[in-house]
Symmetry: C2
């Protein structure tokens, strides 16, 4: 029914998560309204992302260079390492602009139920790096979940001999949340981690 | 912050209607999880849509050929012409599979407020075609709106001398709608167009 190239563009949009037939059709037709240069840039940047982007050889953040811009920035605080579960987290923190240390990106979180075991998330590379660079503090910035907790405990155990201060992000009641909608685990954590008002 | 090609892919997704920064970021990152062939197909189909797709020389439906598959299908009923406001409507009707006649796609609807006047929507081409092919019935399938009504009335006027039956889609209460949520214009139309139960 659709011309072949429109059909194939619809299928391509459907590869993306959360995009079904109807949305893919709407997006494919909207491409027809774009300027020629916009379409060419779109097409080219897809190929570029595929061909040029890879993991930083030191910290695994996505980059087009050998070292990402954070690892190659000598102005950053190299005493603190923030360990995250994916590259997106790096960009989230960078947007916030409040952390000036270094990052290390794991290849996901330990999740035995999904078949992801400790040896699957690139801990060797982290351990090698931590032994080589002398960090004073390592921050675990995983999502607060069973997987996040498991990974944090496991990584803490293998780093324990190295005498480095290990911290995790605070969890608790999010700013602006209605108390009645806060789940019990979060509330429990918020209570345990309560801080003295100074 | 982002590698250049990811940044440029995010910008490209933002060209599309309804896609803001956050969604564009999510989509761009999800491209990184696609297979290489999927990305290449995606990239190629964008260029193809731009280079190969154009309007059918007879009816304006989007096609990769000179004539679209509907115009070149001799098995269709060439006595009935369905006039629509855009190519998408053609595909909507084709999906439904209940109409076996021909189509003609206008270049939008008359909308003086938006600066779209009768001479802007390609009526010459429609008139030429109607004079050449001998249709018995012409169906206006525009959206029920001021613009749709205006266009229908205007086109009916210029086709009036040709002695062709001119119809429009029924409008009324949509199937499954709660009566209390039906707007008054729709209800008025439904009442005026009421049908005898046979």
């Amino acid at each position: 029914m659709y011309p072949e190239s429109i059909r194939s563009l619809i299928e391509s949009f459907k590869y993306l998560p959360g995009i079904g037939e109807k949305t893919a059709e709407r997006l494919a037709f909207s491409v027809l309204d774009l300027e020629e240069e916009q379409i060419e840039l779109f097409s080219e940047s897809l190929l570029d992302v595929n061909n040029k982007v890879h993991k930083c050889s030191k910290c695994n953040t996505l980059t087009e260079e050998d070292l990402c811009y954070i690892c190659s920035d000598s102005g950053r605080n190299s005493n603190v390492l923030c360990v995250v579960e994916d590259t997106k987290s790096v960009f989230l923190f960078e947007k916030l602009g409040m952390f000036s240390g270094k990052y290390h990106v794991l290849e996901g979180l330990i999740s035995p139920l999904d078949g992801i075991n400790p040896e699957d998330i690139g801990l060797d590379k982290l351990l090698d790096r931590v032994q080589e660079e002398k960090f004073e503090e390592i921050i675990f910035a995983f999502k607060p979940s069973i997987e996040g907790e498991t990974t944090a405990l496991y990584v803490k155990k293998i780093l324990d001999d190295l005498d480095i201060k290990i911290t995790r992000l605070a969890s608790g009641v999010p700013i602006g949340a209605d108390m009645e909608y806060v789940d019990s685990l979060t509330l429990e954590r918020a209570l345990n981690d309560r801080k003295e008002i100074e």
